[in-house]
């Protein structure tokens, strides 16, 4: 998200998104509901215009959608792995852990992408994002395998970062 200021594209995207949220809440196609939804989402978009613009309509381009879907799959697999990993640790009486905090830098430059990456890291095996300063992630790692920044990036963020770069850049 490099360009500052409000573009029509961003505005419309935001409006659409808010309307989608509205629909998610009402799940009704009755006309009064829809009209109200349009109004509400418009008002909310106007209110949050300054603060809350993340993307423009271009995020909806097909190839980006494709990568998004791909991301979701990758993510879900990672999430499942993470849970089995946790289950193993939790249920094992010896609690095999070796925790520590490591850092690495990301190539992502969209705030939004960075957040998605951070969340993904948090939900994948053995890691939690403690902080993000500029481009530098600080990760709490249950079982620290390396202290080297680049290796850590590969180990922790690898796949996610690649796909995210494709979606947001």
């Amino acid at each position: 998200m490099q360009s500052k200021g409000l573009t029509i594209s961003k505005f419309v995207y935001s409006w659409l998104l808010m309307f989608a949220v509205w629909y998610g809440f009402t799940t009704s196609t009755a006309l009064p509901e829809l009209i109200t939804g349009v109004i509400v989402s418009l008002v909310v978009t106007l209110i949050t215009a300054k603060a809350a613009q993340c993307c423009g309509l271009d995020i909806l381009l097909p190839h980006r959608i494709f990568y998004m879907v791909k991301y979701i799959f990758v993510f879900i697999i990672a999430l499942l792995k993470a849970n089995f990993d946790i289950a193993r640790r939790v249920l094992s009486p010896s609690l095999p852990i070796n925790p520590g905090i490591v850092e690495f830098e990301t190539k992502l430059n969209s705030d939004f992408a960075k957040m998605i990456l951070a969340n993904s890291i948090t939900l994948t095996p053995g890691t939690i994002t403690v902080d993000l300063v500029g481009n530098k992630y600080f990760i709490h790692w249950v079982d620290v395998k390396t202290e080297d920044s680049e290796e850590a990036r590969q180990e922790i963020a690898g796949d996610f970062e690649k796909i995210l770069l494709k979606i947001f850049n």
Binding site: I86, A87, V102, A118, N119, S120, V130, F138, E147
Partner: protein, 115 residues
């Protein structure tokens, strides 16, 4: 539609197991960061799975279930991150002190800058 019921029940059951595992992790892990590790992942997956299951059991509700799933997927890791950061800044040391802590120096620097 019987098949949906089975799928739904499966997801609900799976979700509840993960939720339980998350709570167990919270209970058993030795320090706050590890508890967070266990709690976040399992509870997120557990909740998502259970909501999805309910969506299958009651297809009318699927849209709303997805809304909640998305919300949890976004918010839960975020809150965990905020907690981890908060715990760190609250001065809670790591479980094993001799282990590596890359955050310490930067964190101190930032504190100085803010003052």
């Amino acid at each position: 539609m019987e098949i949906l019921k089975y799928i739904g029940s499966f997801f609900v059951l799976l979700g509840s197991i993960f939720l339980f595992l998350g709570a167990l992790g919270i209970y058993r892990m030795p320090d706050v960061y590890n508890r967070l590790q266990a709690g976040t992942k399992s509870s997120t997956l557990g909740a998502m799975s259970m909501l999805l299951g309910i969506g299958f059991l009651q297809p009318d509700w699927m849209v709303k279930m997805i809304v909640i799933i998305i919300f949890i997927a976004v918010s839960n890791p975020l809150s965990s991150h905020a907690l981890a950061r908060g715990a760190y800044r609250a001065g809670l040391s790591l479980f094993q002190k001799e282990k590596i802590d890359a955050y310490e120096k930067d964190y101190k620097d930032m504190e100085d800058k803010e003052l």
